[in-house]
């Protein structure tokens, strides 16, 4: 019984940790399937987290904060597009530039505007944050272990962004595999010459992919600062953008496997928190750092082809030039 409760709580924590990963990984999926490496997920998320917290602090509305986060992240995405698509610059360099720049700019602006040493004020008033939504009878159902507790902990009791993220997975899959836009998007990531020959603008398609990526990544960033916690703190993404990228690779650039990868990585994270200093039977104390490093180790093993094979879009990382 005790173990059961623990597992349910662990799974609930997994869902909360997985949400920003999933949103960022879906963001990366759109740009990478269109042929643009999205190492800037980290920076875009951080920028969005700051913008969301700042706007929510000033206006008192979490929704406006979310919008600001999305706008910021889209703007950064367009900057990447300018560098990688229009000027055909190195995509990795451009992304690192965005990550480093935002890493400096967000605390600089926070310090200048709020004077709290590089963070934003605590969001306390109602409406400044996305709070948990309790589904009908969730409290009552909690008493019944199965399925009541599952209902109250796993389905109920999350904020609106979590449900949004869950809905976005089938939506992304539908857009990518069932619409004309999705077909073209995938084509431009595999063979831009063919798309160009068909009379479709490679540049426009890639820019659209960047905008979608920016929007999704913006939601992920806003989730961190106005839903999962109450305010922006320095370096609050803490590598989640890169972890999302790892999940995207682990999910082989496909929506549902990416969802599974995000849940798996989030589970290791939630587990690491639980296992801090706990001695397990047989194994003894598992070093938390090892569990935290596990997603990265798994991704490397996958990339190396030791467990399955991840195939990246063919034209990824290559700027398209008509003249070639």
């Amino acid at each position: 019984m005790e173990t059961y409760t623990l597992i349910v709580l662990l799974l609930a924590a997994t869902i909360r940790v997985a949400t920003p990963l999933l949103l960022a990984a879906l963001a990366g999926m759109f740009s990478e399937r269109a042929g643009v490496i999205d190492l800037a997920l980290e920076g875009k998320m951080l920028g969005a987290a700051f913008a969301a917290a700042a706007v929510s602090t000033v206006t008192g509305s979490a929704w406006l904060g979310l919008a600001a986060g999305m706008v910021t992240s889209i703007a950064l995405s367009l900057l990447l597009g300018l560098a990688c698509v229009t000027y055909r610059g190195n995509q990795v360099v451009a992304a690192m530039a965005v990550n480093i720049m935002v890493g400096g700019l967000a605390p600089t602006l926070a310090l200048a505007w709020f004077n709290l040493g590089g963070q934003t004020p605590q969001l306390e008033a109602a409406g400044q944050r996305f709070t948990e939504i309790t589904w009908p009878w969730a409290k009552a159902a909690h008493v019944v272990p199965f399925p009541g507790m599952l209902y109250s902990e796993l389905l109920s009791g999350h904020n609106v962004v979590v449900y949004l993220a869950a809905l976005l997975v089938p939506t992304a899959a539908w857009v990518l595999y069932r619409t004309r836009f999705g077909l073209r998007l995938r084509a431009v990531g595999e063979n831009p010459q063919a798309v160009d020959t068909a009379g479709i603008s490679v540049t426009m398609l890639r820019y659209r992919a960047m905008i979608i990526s920016g929007a999704l990544c913006g939601i992920a960033g806003a989730y961190l600062s106005v839903a999962a916690s109450s305010g922006f703190v320095r370096d609050m993404t803490a590598g989640k953008g890169y972890l999302a990228l790892a999940a995207l690779i682990f999910g082989k650039w496909r929506p549902y496997p990416t969802l599974v990868a995000c849940l798996l990585f989030a589970f290791t994270d939630a587990l690491a928190v639980r296992l801090q200093g706990v001695s397990l039977p047989v194994i003894g104390v598992v070093p938390v750092q090892f569990i935290l490093a596990l997603p990265y180790i798994l991704t490397i093993l996958l990339l190396a082809g030791f467990v399955g094979r991840a195939r990246a879009p063919d034209a990824i990382g290559v700027a398209y030039s008509k003249e070639k």
Partner: protein
């Protein structure tokens, strides 16, 4: 109307483009500073004064520059082989572990015995950490950018584990080792200068700066004066041509990564043996990423890397001065400048290159007609 592609003159490519990028980055930073309600001109004066205004500030600037020379060279060597090593941070971290272990175990040996061991350990540990991504790229086709990022996180987890559970000084809360034996400390610049009769303010600038200079020369000799360096550059520019010339591109990939990691690993010689005298959490402090900016601005050439490393060292030192005098601005502003330099000197380079090529290329043609 000729259809041949116009080439930018060499001097413009090597000097003008990076300078334009720097100017653009500084202009935008000035805009940000103005936005924050401070005077950009005043900030610039404080920055320059803080970086070069006194012996002490010069010493600090060069001390920071030492770190950036190592990481900048690391990025550049990989670049010449067509690889992008963003793992400098992790390689520096692990390299520092190597140097630190030597200093912890042999800290009481004479310095002339500790130094070569420490250099070997720093370079060796860094090289080993970079070898794996290099090997995975060469033999298994795993993209080195992604794997080096992953290795940064694994390095960080590994070091946290070691510092918290294994290497921590007993009876202490903060995760850091005991102090190295005093014999293993790098001689400070001011001490060395006193011996030859020059007075210099005490700063953390140390012998590692000289080692960084040697590394610069070594990289230049290696890349442009040895058969291996030539092979490495050919493999980077055209792997197919390299293959026909009997050069193994995958071998060069591994060689470049190992060298790159070794150079990044040497950061610990300056940071740990020169100044901290213990291993502590996250001592590279982002220097691995500064290396990207340094290499891009320095055009991957040792001379350029030296100049841009000094520039970034000065920015870091001047930036901390800025914090004292302008309460609304802190060191993060320097990170912004760093990001902008990477943007304008790297990713958005074509924004300047295209108009510049049109301008200077046309002039060259006209000159030909006249003569």
């Amino acid at each position: 109307m000729s259809t041949t592609t116009r080439q930018l003159p060499r001097w413009a490519d090597l000097v003008l483009l990076p300078l334009l990028g720097l100017v653009a980055a500084l202009l935008i930073s000035a805009g940000v500073i103005a936005l924050l309600g401070e005077s950009p001109w005043q900030a610039m004066k404080l920055l320059v004064d803080g970086a070069f205004g006194s012996q002490e500030s010069i010493g600090y600037s060069l001390y920071y520059a030492t770190n950036f020379i190592f990481t900048g060279l690391a990025v550049a060597v990989a670049f010449h082989a067509g690889l992008f090593n963003i793992g400098g941070e992790g390689q520096a971290y692990i390299g520092g572990l190597g140097a630190g272990l030597v200093c912890l175990w042999c800290g009481n040996w004479p310095f002339w015995a500790v130094l070569p061991l420490a250099i070997l350990a720093a370079a060796g540990f860094g090289a080993a950490w970079a070898f794996l991504p290099g090997w995975l790229q060469a033999k298994r086709g795993s993209h080195v950018v992604i794997t080096t990022i992953m290795f940064n996180f694994i390095a960080s987890a590994l070091m946290t584990y070691l510092l918290v559970n294994v290497l921590i000084k007993p009876g202490q809360q903060s995760p850091e080792t005991r102090e190295f034996g005093a014999n293993s400390w790098m001689p400070l610049a001011n001490e060395m200068l006193t011996k030859i009769g020059i007075n210099f303010a005490p700063t953390p600038l140390n012998l590692a700066f000289v080692l960084a200079m040697i590394a610069l020369i070594f990289v230049w000799l290696f890349l442009w004066r040895t058969r291996w360096g030539y092979a490495l550059r050919v493999a980077g520019q055209n792997p197919t041509a390299a293959l026909y010339a009997g050069i193994s591109p995958s071998g060069m990939t591994m060689l470049a990564m190992v060298l790159s990691g070794a150079l990044a690993g040497c950061l610990g010689l300056n940071e740990l043996m020169g100044s901290q005298h213990r291993i502590l959490i996250d001592f590279p402090g982002g220097a691995g990423f500064v290396g990207i900016a340094v290499a891009l601005m320095g055009r991957n050439h040792p001379v350029g890397i030296f100049l841009s490393a000094v520039l970034f060292g000065a920015l870091y030192q001047g930036g901390s001065q800025l914090t004292f005098d302008m309460p609304h601005i802190n060191r993060d502003m320097v990170v912004v400048i760093q990001g902008l330099v990477i943007l304008f000197c790297g990713a958005l380079e074509n924004m300047f290159r295209r108009p510049l090529t049109a301008l200077l290329g046309r002039r060259a043609e006209r000159g030909k007609v006249e003569s």
